[in-house]
C-alpha cells in the first residue's frame, strides 16, 4: 500500500512542500481554536461541572476571556506609520496604502479573533453533530434505495428528492418559523441547563441533519452500486442472509468508496452551516455579520471570516484524505485503482 502524498481538497491538489505549509498553518489554526475553546466555552464548562471536575482553567482566567492573546497595537502602529508615510509621499501614496492594508487587516483580525473563535465552536459543533446524525440516517436510506422493495426504495427516493430539491434555507425557516419545533425543544427541561446549546442551534441541527442525510445517502447509494454484484451473490452462496451480506460484505466496501463524496458533503456543510445565522444561531458567520455592522469594516471582516472558513475546510479535507488512506485496503479504496 502506498501513501499518496497529495491532498484533494476543495481548492485543488496540495503536494509536497505546500502540504507541509498547509499542515502547519492548519495545525496552528486548530491549536488556537482549541485553546480559545478550552479557556472559554460554556458547553465545556457544563461537561466539566457535570462530571465533578474542578474548574481548573477558568476561575481567574474568565475575566477578560474575550481579550485577544496577541496585542493588536503593534500591527496598528505599523499601519498608522505607513499611513503617515502615505500622506508625505503625495502621488505615490497608494503604494504605502497598499502596504499598510495587510497590517490593518492583521490588527483587525487580532481584535476580532476571540469572537470568531467562539462562533467557530458553534460552526464546528453544528457541522460535526449534523454530519454524524445524518450518516446514521443516510446508511439505511441508501441501503433501502438500492436493496429495498418497490415501496421502501421509492419512499427513500422521495425523501432524497424532496430534500435535495428544496433550498436549505427554506428548510431551516420551515423548521424554525413554521413548525412549533422551537417551542417543543424549549419546553424540554434539559434545555434550561446551563451550557446546553440554544434552542435555535438545536433546530439548526435537526434541519442540517435531515438535509445532510439526503445528500450523504446519495453519495452512499452511488458507492453501494459500485460494489460488484458478485460480492453479494458470494455472500449469499455461503449461507448469509441478504441483510447479513449487505452488512458484512457490501457496506464495508461501499462505505470506503463513499469517503470522497462524504468529504465533499462535510466541506459543504461547514460552509452552509452559516445559514444558521439567519435563525439567530451565533455561529462564526453571525459573529462576523455582527462585527461588520458594529464597525462598518465589512471588507475586512468578510476577508477574515472567509479565511477562517477556508482554514476549516482545508484542514477537514486533509483529515478526511488521511482517513481515506488509512481505511483503504489493497483493491478497495483509492490507493489501488479498481479494475
Amino acid at each position: 500500500m502506498t501513501t499518496v502524498d497529495t491532498v484533494d481538497s476543495a481548492v485543488g491538489t496540495i503536494r509536497g512542500r505546500k502540504k507541509v505549509v498547509a499542515t502547519a498553518v492548519g495545525g496552528a489554526l486548530w491549536l488556537w481554536l482549541l485553546a480559545r475553546w478550552a479557556v472559554h466555552n460554556t458547553l465545556l464548562d457544563a461537561v466539566f461541572s457535570a462530571i465533578g471536575l474542578p474548574d481548573l482553567i477558568h476561575s481567574e482566567a474568565r475575566v477578560g476571556v474575550r481579550e485577544p492573546w496577541i496585542p493588536a497595537a503593534p500591527f496598528q502602529a505599523v499601519a498608522d506609520a505607513l499611513g503617515g508615510v502615505a500622506a508625505a509621499v503625495g502621488p505615490l501614496s497608494f503604494l504605502a496604502d497598499w502596504l499598510a492594508w495587510p497590517f490593518e487587516l492583521a490588527a483587525f483580525a487580532t481584535s476580532t479573533g476571540p469572537a470568531l473563535a467562539e462562533g467557530a465552536f458553534i460552526t464546528v459543533y453544528l457541522t460535526v453533530i449534523s454530519m454524524a446524525l445524518g450518516l446514521v440516517i443516510a446508511v439505511p436510506l441508501a441501503v433501502t434505495r438500492v436493496y429495498g422493495g418497490p415501496i421502501s426504495s421509492r419512499l427513500s427516493l422521495a425523501y432524497t428528492e424532496l430534500i435535495r430539491g428544496t433550498p436549505l434555507l427554506a428548510q431551516l425557516f420551515f423548521f424554525y418559523f413554521g413548525l412549533p419545533l422551537a417551542g417543543l425543544i424549549g419546553s424540554v427541561g434539559i434545555m434550561e441547563l446551563d451550557g446546553m446549546p440554544r434552542t435555535a442551534a438545536v433546530v439548526a441541527i435537526v434541519a442540517f441533519t435531515i438535509n445532510s442525510a439526503a445528500y450523504q445517502a446519495e453519495y452512499i447509494r452511488a458507492a453501494l452500486q459500485s460494489v460488484d454484484g458478485g460480492q453479494l451473490t458470494a455472500a449469499r452462496a455461503i449461507g448469509l442472509s441478504k441483510r447479513e451480506g449487505i452488512r458484512h460484505v457490501v457496506l464495508p466496501q461501499g462505505l470506503r468508496f463513499a469517503i470522497p463524496g462524504w468529504t465533499n458533503e462535510f466541506v459543504y456543510l461547514i460552509k452552509y452551516s452559516s445559514l444558521a445565522a439567519f435563525i439567530t444561531v451565533p455561529d462564526m458567520f453571525r459573529r462576523a455579520r455582527d462585527i461588520g455592522s458594529d464597525t462598518f469594516q465589512y471588507t475586512e471582516i468578510y476577508v477574515v471570516v472567509g479565511l477562517c472558513y477556508l482554514g476549516l475546510v482545508i484542514t477537514t479535507a486533509m483529515l478526511m484524505n488521511r482517513l481515506e488512506d488509512r481505511l483503504s485496503l489493497p483493491g478497495v479504496g483509492q490507493s489501488v485503482g479498481r479494475e
Binding site: 451473490t233 458470494a234 452462496a237 449461507g239 466496501q253 489493497p330 483493491g331
Partner: protein, 244 residues
C-alpha cells in the same frame, strides 16, 4: 439413495426458455461434469441447485428433501459454490474470506474459525497467504481461496461454475490439482467446466447439455469413445482439440 436429484426442471428468463425437462441424479462422492455450448443453460442449472435462481417447474431434492422446503440460507450452507470470477470478498484477507461464513453462519468462535481457515488454506497450498487481500493474489490463488471458502463450510455438495474459465492458461493447473485432490478425497462435486482432461480423469459421469436439454449422459469413457449422438461427438471432439 441419491444425494442430489433433479426432476423435470424447467426454467425460462421471460420468454426465453433456458432449461427444459432436465432430470438427473447423482450419488454421494460422485463427480458430475456438465458440458455444453455457451448459452446451453449449464450455469443456470447450477444456480438452481442452490436457489440463486428459482426454477419455474419440476423439483430438486437434496438428500431426499425438496430444496424449496429447506430454508434457503440453510440450503446454501449445505451446498457450496465456486464462481468463475472467484468473487472473493475484496475487503477481507484470504483468511477473512473463509472465517466470515464460519463465524456468521456456523457460529464458530474467532479462534476456532481462524484455526479452521488456516487449515483449509493449507489444504489448498496457501498457508503463507492467509493475510493477503484478494487484489494481492494471482487468479489461481484467488480461486484456490474460493475453493477453501466453500470447503470450510463442510458442504455436502460443491457446485463449480466454470472455475478455470477466467484464468490465464498457466494458472489453470494449480486449480485443477486442488479439484482433483477433492474428487479423490470423496467430495461430491457438480462441475460446469470445459477442462476435458479433468472430466476424463475425475468425472464419474458427464452430462452433455445443449439448448437447455440433456442430450446425453454417461461415464467419461462412453461419452468420449462411443457417444450415442453425433452432436456429443462433435462437441466433445472440438473441446478436446481446443484444450490440448
Amino acid at each position: 439413495m441419491s444425494l442430489l436429484r433433479v426432476d423435470s426442471v424447467d426454467k425460462s428468463y421471460g420468454d426465453e426458455p433456458v432449461l427444459h425437462d432436465v432430470s438427473f441424479a447423482m450419488d454421494r462422492q460422485n463427480v458430475e461434469v456438465i458440458v455444453g455450448p455457451s448459452g446451453s443453460g449449464k450455469s443456470t442449472l447450477l444456480r438452481c441447485v442452490n436457489r440463486l435462481t428459482e426454477i419455474d417447474g419440476g423439483e430438486i431434492f437434496l438428500d431426499d428433501e425438496e430444496i424449496h422446503t429447506v430454508d434457503e440460507n440453510e440450503l446454501r450452507r449445505r451446498v457450496g459454490m465456486v464462481f468463475q470470477d472467484f468473487n472473493l470478498f475484496a475487503h477481507l484477507t484470504a483468511r477473512g474470506n473463509i472465517t466470515l461464513g464460519l463465524r456468521e453462519v456456523l457460529g464458530l468462535s474467532k479462534e476456532e474459525a481462524n484455526a479452521k481457515a488456516d487449515d483449509y488454506l493449507d489444504r489448498v497450498g496457501l498457508a503463507d497467504q492467509a493475510e493477503s487481500y484478494p487484489a494481492e493474489l494471482s487468479g489461481g490463488q484467488q480461486q484456490r481461496v474460493g475453493i477453501a471458502r466453500a470447503l470450510a463450510m463442510d458442504p455436502e455438495l460443491i457446485l463449480f461454475d466454470e472455475p478455470t474459465s477466467a484464468l490465464d492458461p498457466e494458472l489453470i493447473g494449480e486449480v485443477l490439482t486442488v479439484m482433483e485432490d477433492l474428487a479423490d478425497g470423496g467430495m461430491t462435486m457438480l462441475c460446469v467446466t470445459h477442462e476435458m482432461g479433468f472430466a476424463r480423469s475425475a468425472a464419474s459421469t458427464i452430462t452433455f447439455l445443449d439448448d437447455g436439454e440433456i442430450v446425453e449422459r454417461g461415464p467419461p469413457e462412453q461419452l468420449f469413445e462411443d457417444p450415442e449422438h453425433d452432436r456429443t461427438r462433435t462437441f466433445l471432439g472440438e473441446l478436446t482439440d481446443l484444450h490440448q
